[in-house]
Symmetry: C2
Subunit: 172 residues, 2 copies
């Protein structure tokens, strides 16, 4: 089953992580490959260290072209490509019941990856493996082949009104 969580609202990555909990509870093996996200340690990273059957791998180099990013675009692209190759291998290995490609849609949107390259690796998805692709602006070609697509639409966000800043355990 191919699942896409897209849209500009909060809850895409966390919905994928929630699916991971469900899968782990049912005795399944889960791999999360994080695109874009930088090397800082989030709640889910700390959590994964203690959990058998849950692996989180970061391939991203952090924010692209925003929030003071000065890394050459090429380097961002190279690390996204690395993530895609890892995804390809992980799909082919048949070792995982659930694979989450976190923020891979953003990577396509930012032109770090081609949509066609992402679709290509999905073709090899074993029937027993579920795949979740998250990130805003999911490409139309991906939505077309997905089994389940939810748009997370922002109705209200505290950053909008500058009320609070990022909070540990909520934003990361």
């Amino acid at each position: 089953m191919i699942i896409v969580f897209t849209g500009n609202g909060k809850g895409k990555t966390t919905a994928a992580l929630g699916q991971a909990i469900r899968a782990l509870g049912q005795g399944k093996k889960v791999l999360v490959i994080q695109f874009i996200k930088g090397p800082w340690i989030s709640g889910e990273d700390k959590f994964a260290k203690k959990i058998k059957n849950l692996r989180i791998i970061k391939t991203g180099k952090g924010f692209v072209k925003i929030l003071g990013d000065k890394l050459p675009f090429k380097k961002h692209r190279a690390s996204a490509q690395e993530g895609l190759q890892l995804a390809k291998k992980s799909i082919a290995s048949k070792k995982y019941d659930l694979i989450i490609l976190d923020e891979i849609n953003n990577a396509v949107d930012l032109k770090l990856l081609k949509a066609s390259a992402v679709l290509k690796i999905i073709k090899f998805l074993p029937e027993k493996t579920d795949l979740i692709l998250t990130g805003r602006n999911a490409p139309k070609s991906l939505i077309r082949i997905a089994d389940l697509v939810t748009e997370m639409k922002e109705i209200k966000h505290p950053f909008q009104k500058n009320k609070k800043s990022a909070r540990a355990g909520i934003e990361f």
Copy 2:
């Protein structure tokens, strides 16, 4: 911080569970109270048994008025009221850093609970506690007071096209 995940799409409960993972990873204590959901065992239930600091309590009696439900409406209402009382106590106890009231919005929508009664208990939320309320058709009065609201909008769902049935580790 008060977070609402609403809308007709998949990912509301799982986004809340993903927030739970984040919070647990940051060393926080999490309570999930499930309204509506029946006593069957889901992936998250099995998972929670193994995780310190994560407690899931079901107060619901299953589907209301659909899928062969024959339970008197009064009984559904009584169990939702029970859930709300438990939520109230848990908020007052200050024991939890994150409290998830899963599908409480549906409980209001189905007239098992009054929106005003839900708002009343939220008033006592300690500053350090985060509260997530999930379920479709969140009442407007709740959206007004929430800090963060995401609408999970269904773009595509496999049940629409009858392609697959509920899958362990994905739907439950």
